[in-house]
Amino acid sequence: MTLALAVDISLTLLVLAVAGWIIAVRDTFAAMIGFVAYGLLLALVWVRLAAPDVALTEAAIGGGLTGALLIGAAARLRGTEAAARAEYPGALTRTLAAVLAVTVAAALAIGVLALPDPTPTLAPAAAANLATTGVGNPVTAVLLAFRAMDTLLEAIVVLLALLGVWSLAPDRAWGGCPGPRRLVDPDGVLAWLARLLPPIGIVVGLYIFWIGADLPGGKFQGATILAAMWLLVIWAGLADTPPISRTWLRVLLVAGPLVFIVIGFAGSITAGAVLAYPEGHAKPLIVAIEIALMPTLVLTLALLVAGAPQRIPPQ
C-alpha cells in the first residue's frame, strides 16, 4: 500500500511539474508538446483513480487530438511570438495573479479536505439496473441509458462547435475544403506510414468501439482512433479533406444525432418516457445509436482538427 502511495505521490509531482513548465516555458511550440506529455501523464492518473474509460478518452482526445490541434496552431502563429513577449505583464500583475491563484486553490483544497464521508454514490443504483440495459460496462450504460440525455446533447454540442469553426471561413472559401492542401513526398516516410497504419488502426478503432459495451472502451475512444487515421492519410497528402458542401458529408454529420433523437422520442410511445428503451430491447437500440453516432463522431472530431475551410470550392 505504501509503495502504491509512493507511485501516486511521484505521479502527482510529475503532473504538477509538467503543468508548471507548460505555463512557464517561453516557446509556445514547446508548451504545446508539453501539453501532449501532460495528457498522457493524466491518463496514468485516471488509471490510478480506477477510471480506465476516462484514461482512454484523456489519452486519445485530451492528449492526442487537442495536442495535434494546438501544435498545428502554434506552428502557424510562430511569427507572432516575439511581439507577444513584449506584452508580458509587469511584476505587480504577476504578483496579484499569483495571490489570486493561490487563494482559489486554497479555497478548493479546503473543500477537498472537507468532502463528506461516506461519499454519496450512484454505483449501487447503476449496478442494480445494469442488467436491464444488456451492456456489461457500467460507464457505457450511464452514457447511453441512464444519462442518455447528456450524451445526446453532447453529440449536438460537438456538431455545433464544428458549425462554429466552419462559419469562420472567409466568404470566398465557404463550401470549400478545410485546411491547406498537403503536398508531401509521395515516397517519403510519412506517406509510407499513412499506407501501412490505417488498416491496422481501423481494426483497433473498431475493436475499442465494440468492446466498449462490456469492457473499458467505447465510441468516443474508437472514433478518435479512426479520426486520427483519416487525419494521417490527409496530412500525408494521400487524400484531401472533403469540401464542406458535399451532401454525403452533411448527411453523415446529421445522421448520428438524428437517429438518437428518433429512437429517443420513439421511447415516449413504446416505453413511456423520452430516451427510455422498451423492456428487453435496450441492447439492440443502444447498439443502433452507437453505430449511427460512430461516423458522425469520426467526421466531426477529424474536421474540428482540420479547421475552417480555406480553399475556394470546386465548381
Binding site: 505555463i23 477510471a51 487537442t66 506584452e87 462554429g164 474540428l304
Partner: protein, 109 residues
C-alpha cells in the same frame, strides 16, 4: 493521505497553476492552453470524488466517470472553436494581440 485525496489536491493545484497562466500569459493560444489546464484540474477533482464513491465492486462511481468522458469531448470541441477564432484573427489582422491599445493593422490585400 489516501489516493483520492492526494489527486484531489493535485487537481486543486492544477486549477491554481492554470488560473495564473490564464491571467499572466498575453498570447491567446497560451491562454487557451492554460484554460485547458484549469479544465483538466476540474475534471481530475471530479474524478477523485468519483473514486471516493467506489462501491459494490466498482472501482468508482460510474456516473461521474461517464460525465467526465462527455466533458473531455466537449472541452476538445470548445478548444477547437477557440483555436479557429484565433487563427481567423491572425488571417484578418496579421497578429493575435489582445492588447486594447494595439495599432490596428490593415488586413493584407
Amino acid at each position: 493521505m489516501n489516493t483520492p485525496t492526494l489527486f484531489g489536491l493535485c487537481a486543486v493545484a492544477l486549477v491554481g497553476v492554470g488560473l495564473y497562466g490564464l491571467i499572466v500569459n498575453p498570447q491567446p493560444l497560451r491562454k487557451i492552453l492554460a484554460f485547458n489546464l484549469i479544465g483538466s484540474g476540474v475534471f481530475l477533482l471530479f474524478g477523485a470524488i468519483a473514486r471516493r464513491g467506489a462501491a459494490v465492486g466498482m472501482g468508482g462511481d460510474p456516473v461521474p466517470q461517464a460525465l467526465l468522458i462527455t466533458g473531455i469531448v466537449v472541452a476538445f470541441s470548445a478548444t477547437a472553436l477557440a483555436v479557429a477564432l484565433v487563427l481567423r484573427l491572425f488571417d484578418e489582422a496579421g497578429s493575435v494581440t489582445l492588447a486594447p491599445d494595439a495599432p490596428a493593422e490593415p488586413p493584407d490585400a
